[in-house]
Amino acid sequence: MLKVRGLRVRYGQREAVHGLDLEVRAGEIVTLVGSNGAGKTTTLKAISGVLRASAGTVEFEGRRIDGLPPHAIIERGIAHVPEGRLLFKDMTVLEHLELGAIRAPRSAPAYRDRVQRAFELFPKLEERKDQRAGTMSGGEQQMLAIARGLMSAPKLLMLDEPSLGLAPIVVDTLADAIRNLHAAGIVILLVEQRVDMALRLADRGYVVETGRIVLDDRAEALLENPRVKEAYLGV
C-alpha cells in the first residue's frame, strides 16, 4: 500500500536520507528501527509531506503522493503522529480531537463516531476530555497525540517513537493500543528506539543506519539476527 523508492532528503546542503527503499503492505505492522540520527524521523516527515524529498518516489495505494502538501496526503489516508508528541499546550483534549479531524478522506465515518472510537481506545482521554494538554502526564499526552492522528480516519498510521520517555507499564498500554488499531484494520508504520518491543509488535522490520536501509526481514528473524542483537538489543 505504501512504496518508497530511492528516497533522498536533505537539510540545506547535508543529505540525511540517501536513497531509501521501504514498503508497507496492507494488513501489516512494519517497524523502522535504528540509532539516533539514522534518519527515521526524516523519512516519516518526507512521507507525510512535511519535508520535501530531493529525489525518489512515494506511492500510496498505487498513486504518487510525493510533492503533495501534508493536508492532501492526510486526505489520501496517511496520518503522522510526530516524535515528541507535539501538542498545543493550552488546548483541551476535545479541541485536539477537533483539530485532528480538519482533514480526512471522504469515506471517513462521522465525526462523533471517530471521537467515540478514540475514547474507546483510550478511556483515560474521555475522563480528561476538558483538560488542557499541557497539564497532562507524558503517557496521556502520547495517547492524545495518537488519538488526534486517528481523527483523520487514516488507513496508514505512522508513529514516531511513541514510547519515548514513558514508564514500562505505560509502554505496555501503548503496545496494546497499537495491536487494537491493527486489529481494527489500520496499517501501521512504527518508528522506535525500543527495538525489542517494536520487533515483537511488528510483522516486518527495517534497520536504518545513517540514512540507508541496512537490513530488512521478518520481525522474528530480526530478533534473532546477531547484528541486531548486538547493536540494538544489548544481548
Binding site: K45, S48, V50, P69, P70, H71, I74, E75, H80, P82, L86, F88, D90, M91, E95, E98, L99, G100, A101, I102, R103, R148, G149, S152
Partner: protein, 322 residues
C-alpha cells in the same frame, strides 16, 4: 458561552446602548463615536495580530481604502450611503486578498516589513492620484451616513454612535463565533506552531489568508463609517500614525481577546484628548505606554483582570505566606 460570560456580555451591550443618553455633552458623544469606530478597527487588526500571530504595518491602508471607496461611490456615482460600509469592506477585502496572497508566502518579521511596503505604496498612490482622490487636499463634504427612507440625522453623534455600535457588536460577535469554531482553533494552531499545524492537516497559508482578508474587509467597513462621520478624509488616514495607533490599541488593550482591543481603543481615544495640550509629546507618551505594556504586561490591560481572578482562585503556593 456558559451562563456567566453571557450575562456579562449582555450587560456590557446594555451599558453601551444607554451610554450616549448619560450625557448631553456633544463632545463626549463625539468621543463615543470615535471610540466605537476605533474599536472596530482594533478588533480587525486583532484578527491578524492576536489570532494569526502576524504583525501588519499596513492595516491603515485598508482603513483608508474603505473610507475612499465609500466616499467616492456615494459622491460620484450616487450609491446609497448605507451601502458604503459593505462596499468599502468588499474593496478593502479584495486588496487584502491580493496583498495577502503575495505577502503571506513569508511570515514573521519579513511579512511585517512587506505589509509596511504595501501600506506605503497604497498611501503614496492615494496621495498622488489627484484625479481620483484629490491628493493631499483630501475629500470634503462627504455625505453623512443615511438609511434611505429612515429620516434620522446621522451627522448627529448620538445617532451615528448606534450605527458604529451595531457594526462593532456584529464584528465582536463574529470574532467570538470564529474563535469558538473549528476554524478558530485552526487559527490558534497556526499561531502557536505552524509546522505542527501543517503536519496535522491545516493548510497554513489558506488559514492565514482567510484571516487576513476578513481583517482587511472589516477595516474597510470601519473606514467607510469614519469617512461618513467626519465627512473629511485625507491620505493621512493611511499613514504610519494610524498604523501605530491601531497597534497600540491592540497591544495595550490585550491581543487575542475581544475585550482587549475595545479597552485599547478607549485608552487611546481618551489619552489623545486628555493630552491634547501636550502636542506632539503625546506620541512619546504612547510609545512609552506601548513599551511598558510589551515589557510588563504582555497580555495587555485585560490580563490584569485575569491575573486578579486567578490570584483569587489559585491555591496558595506552599510557603508563600511565610
Amino acid at each position: 458561552m456558559t451562563a456567566a460570560p453571557r450575562m456579562r456580555a449582555l450587560g456590557a451591550v446594555a451599558a453601551l446602548a444607554v451610554l450616549p443618553w448619560l450625557t448631553g455633552n456633544a463632545f463626549l458623544q463625539h468621543m463615543m463615536v470615535l471610540w466605537a469606530i476605533y474599536a472596530l478597527l482594533a478588533l480587525s487588526l486583532n484578527i491578524i495580530v492576536g489570532y494569526l500571530g502576524e504583525l501588519s504595518f499596513g492595516h491603515a491602508a485598508f482603513f483608508g481604502i474603505g473610507a475612499y471607496t465609500s466616499a467616492l461611490l456615494s459622491m460620484q456615482w450616487g450609491v446609497p450611503v448605507w451601502l458604503g460600509p459593505f462596499l468599502g469592506a468588499i474593496v478593502a477585502g479584495a486588496f487584502g486578498l491580493v496583498i495577502g496572497f503575495v505577502a503571506l508566502r513569508i511570515v514573521g518579521p519579513q511579512f511585517a516589513i512587506l505589509t509596511l511596503g504595501f501600506g506605503a505604496i497604497l498611501h503614496t498612490i492615494t496621495n498622488y492620484w489627484v484625479d481620483l482622490t484629490r491628493g493631499p487636499m483630501g475629500i470634503s463634504n462627504i455625505p453623512p451616513f443615511s438609511l434611505g427612507p429612515i429620516a434620522l440625522d446621522f451627522a448627529q453623534a448620538r445617532n451615528m454612535y448606534y450605527v458604529a455600535l451595531v457594526f462593532l457588536l456584529g464584528v465582536a460577535y463574529v470574532c467570538h463565533a470564529l474563535m469558538t469554531s473549528r476554524r478558530g482553533r485552526a487559527f490558534i494552531a497556526v499561531r502557536e506552531n505552524p509546522a505542527l499545524a501543517a503536519s496535522i492537516g491545516i493548510d497554513v497559508f489558506a488559514t492565514k489568508l482567510h484571516g487576513f482578508v476578513v481583517a482587511t474587509a472589516i477595516a474597510g467597513a470601519g473606514g467607510a463609517l469614519y469617512g461618513h462621520y467626519l465627512r473629511v478624509i485625507t491620505p493621512e488616514l493611511m499613514s504610519l500614525q494610524y498604523v501605530a495607533a491601531l497597534i497600540i490599541m491592540v497591544i495595550v488593550g490585550g491581543k487575542g481577546t475581544i475585550v482587549g482591543p475595545l479597552i485599547g481603543a478607549l485608552v487611546y481615544v481618551s489619552l489623545l484628548e486628555m493630552l491634547r495640550a501636550a502636542g506632539p509629546l503625546r506620541l512619546v507618551v504612547f510609545a512609552a505606554l506601548l513599551t511598558a505594556c510589551v515589557i510588563f504586561l504582555p497580555g495587555g490591560l485585560v490580563s490584569l483582570w485575569r491575573r486578579l481572578r486567578e490570584r483569587r482562585l489559585a491555591p496558595e503556593p506552599a510557603g508563600a505566606s511565610a
